[in-house]
Amino acid sequence: MLGSTPRFLSYQAGESILHRLDARTKLLGTAVVVADALIASIPAGMAVAYALGLLIGLGAIHLLPALWRTLRPLLVLIALFGVLIVIITPGHALFRVGFIVASRPGLDLAIQLGLQSFLIIYTSSLLTLTTPPLAIAGALDWTLGFLRHLRFPVQDVIAMVAIGLTFVPLLIEETRKVIVAQRARGADLGMNAMLDENAMAALLIPLLLANLRRGEELAESMDARLYGVGERTSLHERHFRRDDLLAATVLAVFTAADVAISFWLHP
C-alpha cells in the first residue's frame, strides 16, 4: 500500500547532508528561511531567498524530484488564490473583463504572496522529509524550553505536535480506506460529492470516529506505559557539529543579504 513517492510531510530515511544536520539547526534554519521569504519585498530580495532555498535543496538533491511531484498540485492552488488576489485588490487597472478588474498592485501582491508561500511550504517539506518527527519534537523542546519557566506545559504540547506529525501518513491511508469502502457501497465520491451532504457524511464521520478511537487508544496505551511520570530524557543526545556551524553561517550570510536588499534598497 505504501507508495514509492514521499508524501507531503512524511520522513524519508537517507544519508544526505540535510539528514546529517542537527534537527535544531534544521528547525531554526527553516524558521530563518520563512522569515527571509516574508521580508523579501522586492524581486532582488526574493531572488536571494530563493537562492538560499535552492542551496538548501542541494543538500538533499535526491529528494527534489519526488518533492516537486508532491508540491506540483499546490501550484494550482497558489495560482487560483493569485487570480483571486489580482481581482479583489483595488488599484490601477491592468485590464478588465466585464466587471472584473485586474489591478497592478494586485498582480504584484499575488506574485509576492505566491512566491513566499511556495518557498515556505518547500522549505518546511524539506525539514519534515529529512528529519524524523521525534527529532523535530526534540528540537522544538530545546528551542521552546525557556517557556517552561513560565509554567507552560512545553513537553505535552511538543508530544502532541510529534504525534500529529507522525499520524499524517496514517490519516491519508485512513482516508483512502474510507473512500474505497464507501465507493464499494455505491457512494459517488467524485467532485459533485462535495455538494452532497450525505456523501460528505459518509466520508467524514467514519474518519472522525476512527481518529477519536485512535486517540483514545493511544492515550490509554501511553498511560499504561507510564508516560508523563518523571522527567523525560533523550536516548540520543544531540550535538552541534561543524556542518551545523557551516549551515548557520550560510543562513546568516543570505539573511544579511536579504535584509540589506529588502530594507536599504527598498524604493
Binding site: 480506506k177 469502502a181 465507493r183 464499494a184 455505491g186 464521520i205 467514519p206
Partner: protein, 268 residues
C-alpha cells in the same frame, strides 16, 4: 459462462449464484485481490471481466466512477464505515444510491436486517449504540440490501464472536442462488463452506479441491501458511519429529493414522 472473471494471477472465475472462496494466509494479498474484483483497483496483471467485458476499459474521460454498481465489496472491518443516524438509513444507503424506489428500499432493508439476525427494535437506533459484532452485521446488511450480482467479502468473519462466525453462511441467505459470492478468508474451515476454492499464495491463485477434500491436501495448505484444524497441526508437529504419516487424508483419517503410528512406535 462466468459472471465475474479475473484473467491475471493465473485466473479466477465465478458463476452466477455460486459461492467461491479464496483462501490465503495473512499477507498473501487478499485485500488487494478483493479491490481488484470489485473494480476499485486496476489489476497490475490481467483484467477483471464482468459478463465477459471489462467495464473499466469503457471508462470515459472526466468520468470518475464508471465502476459497475452491481458488484459490491464488504471491506475488512466494515463496521468502522457506518455513519448514518439510524441503522435503517445506513442499510438503505446502498440501495438509495442505486436509485431503488423507497418502498422497495424498505422491503430490502427489512429483509437484510432479518437475514443478519437483527430484530425490528434495532432499525431506529443509532449504529454507534450497537456492539462491534452488531455493527458488523449492519454493515453486512448494507451490502445485502444492494442485492448485487457479485458480492465480494473481505474476511467478513474476522473479529466476530464464534457464534456469528458459525452462522455466517446463514446471514447470506437473501443472496443464495441469486448472487455470485467471492469470500476471502484465512480460515480453512470457512473455505470448505464454498462451492469452489482457490488458494492464494504470493498473489497467485490456484484451484484446490472443494468441501472436505480441501483438508486432505493439508501439507500444501500448511506450506501456504493457512491455519489448519488442530489435528493437522498435531500431524505436522509429529511429521517434523519423524513420525511417518500418510501424505493426505480427512481429519478423521488423520486422527486414526496418528493413533496407529503412535501405537506402533511405542509398541516395541
Amino acid at each position: 459462462m462466468p459472471i465475474l472473471e479475473h484473467t491475471g494471477r493465473q485466473g479466477l472465475d465465478v458463476g452466477p449464484g455460486e459461492i467461491v472462496s479464496v483462501l490465503g494466509a495473512p499477507g498473501s494479498g487478499k485485500t488487494e485481490l478483493a479491490l481488484e474484483l470489485a473494480f476499485l483497483k486496476v489489476p497490475s496483471h490481467g483484467e477483471v471481466l464482468l459478463r465477459g467485458i471489462n467495464p473499466l476499459a469503457q471508462r470515459r474521460f472526466f468520468q470518475l466512477s464508471s465502476r459497475p454498481h452491481d458488484v459490491t465489496l464488504l471491506v475488512q472491518n466494515a463496521e468502522d464505515q457506518l455513519f448514518a443516524r439510524t441503522v435503517y438509513d445506513d442499510v438503505a444507503f446502498g440501495p438509495r444510491h442505486l436509485g431503488v424506489a423507497e418502498d422497495e428500499v424498505e422491503r430490502r432493508v427489512i429483509a437484510a436486517l432479518e437475514a443478519v439476525g437483527l430484530g425490528v427494535g434495532v432499525r431506529a437506533r443509532s449504529p454507534f449504540a450497537l456492539s462491534g459484532g452488531e455493527r458488523r452485521r449492519v454493515a453486512l446488511a448494507g451490502v445485502l440490501a444492494m442485492e448485487p450480482v457479485v458480492l465480494v467479502l473481505d474476511e467478513p468473519t474476522a473479529n466476530l464472536d464464534p457464534q456469528a462466525r458459525n452462522e455466517f453462511l446463514r446471514f447470506l441467505a437473501p443472496l443464495r442462488g441469486k448472487s455470485a459470492i467471492v469470500w476471502l478468508t484465512d480460515s480453512a474451515r470457512e473455505a470448505t463452506l464454498a462451492d469452489r476454492i482457490y488458494l492464494l499464495q504470493n498473489g497467485m491463485l490456484q484451484p484446490v479441491p472443494a468441501r472436505e477434500a480441501l483438508l486432505t491436501d493439508w501439507r500444501r495448505l500448511a506450506e501456504a501458511g493457512i491455519e489448519l484444524p488442530a489435528v493437522f497441526q498435531l500431524a505436522r508437529a509429529l511429521d517434523e519429529r519423524g513420525l511417518i504419516l500418510p501424505p493426505e487424508g480427512t481429519p478423521e483419517a488423520m486422527r486414526q493414522a496418528i493413533i496407529n503410528a503412535w501405537c506402533e512406535s511405542h509398541a516395541g
